[in-house]
Amino acid sequence: MKKAILVMLICLLVCTGCSLGKETSERESASRELFAMDTIMTLTVYGEHAQEVLDLAEAEIERLDQMLSTGNPEGEIGTLNRTGKVNLSDDAAYLFEESLKLNDMSENAFNPMIYPVMEAWGFTTDEYRVPSKEEIGQILPLVDLSLAEYQEETGVLQFRKEGVKIDFGGIAKGYTSGRLMELFQENGIEDAVVSLGGNVQVIGKNPKQELWKVAIRDPQDPSGFLGIVRVTDQAVITSGGYERYFEEDGKRYHHIIDPNDGFPADQGLISVTVISRDGTLADGLSTALYVMGLNRAEELWKQHPDLFDAVFVTDSNELYITEGLKECFTSDTYTVKIIPE
């Protein structure tokens, strides 16, 4: 009898030990899905107080959304576009400065003043139409960063002309994901992944303690991927005309407008993915490089190979990656061509 009890007690201890071990190796993690900036956002963080950190993150997203949304007439950007003048907060000032840099870097392929043109095409209201060349010709001069005067000492941004409007939508999500990563790290979170409407940014490692595996949507197969990139502490942001377009008279018009001529960019690329530590940069460049086309994008990358990497799919269905991705990008569906430094 005593032996039997002893055996059972030992079994019990072993089982308890097993289950305890399993419990301590599973960290606290939390996920949240929310709607903001006109899209679905999914946030997942790993670490202590995960739920509280997500609360902070949600509040930050709401704050930035209210500030930057062109659809919110009382917000900072809303007020700016309505009245032509506003006192820029730190975040918006940063976005303005970054816009100037991106605009310069990309030779006007990225321009936040494109908003009036987007309005003319109906992309802002989903009432799509094809504007005439004359109409574009009239609006295009408004797409000019020099018409936005920023006084650093006072913090005031003022438009020099009527009808000028700004929209940071092209970099807002990238900026937000970057802010979220900062917030996570400030709160002791080392591993996290967010997807803001498909804009991905990660820090640390995935739950299996490997590099995060980010799959990139294949523009040709809406349910498949063009490849998988393994990263840590990077933003992965994709742009392509296939994301949003309308058809009229048999012709397809997509939403990535070239600020140089006011029409959908047509430089031979169907998808661009930018991978960078800087979320704002990745977001802005993903559309800028699309507008620039493969050759000019290559040149730009060669000037700043440590700043970002990129994946391109051309309209002849070829896939190119910059050399920095050589070791961490794989594709089952395309032959990968490498762009050397």
Binding site: I40, D126, G198, K213, A215, P222, F225
Partner: protein, 135 residues
Amino acid sequence: MKKRKEADPFRINRYDIILTAALAAAAVICVILFAGFHDTSEGAFVRITVDAEEYGIYELSQPVQIRIETDRGNNLIQIRDHQVTMLEADCPDGYCIRKGPISRIGDTIVCLPHRVVAEILSADGHADEFDVIAQ
């Protein structure tokens, strides 16, 4: 006290062995029967959320049509042949219908104006080949 011809409850007899063997055999059969459930390569379920709240989880193997009516609008989701499609939606953009059928783990159909999302899950609830999709 009535005397019944009962087995001594403290003696192991042949019926015990038969019963125990039968139960063990049943467990083995269950392994064979349900092993198929744990296939992680193909999507096994679709999770539908409305306004970020879980509406339901359905098996890909069971054909069904799911009508979702909210004050934002109507959607009709169809599960058939291991694929999920947005059959009908009275939203202004119709992207959800244009998406076509989905079937792979991690695939989603999103009706943004109506805040309806359908996502394919693997049998154990998450995708294995990748952690997140950039799109």
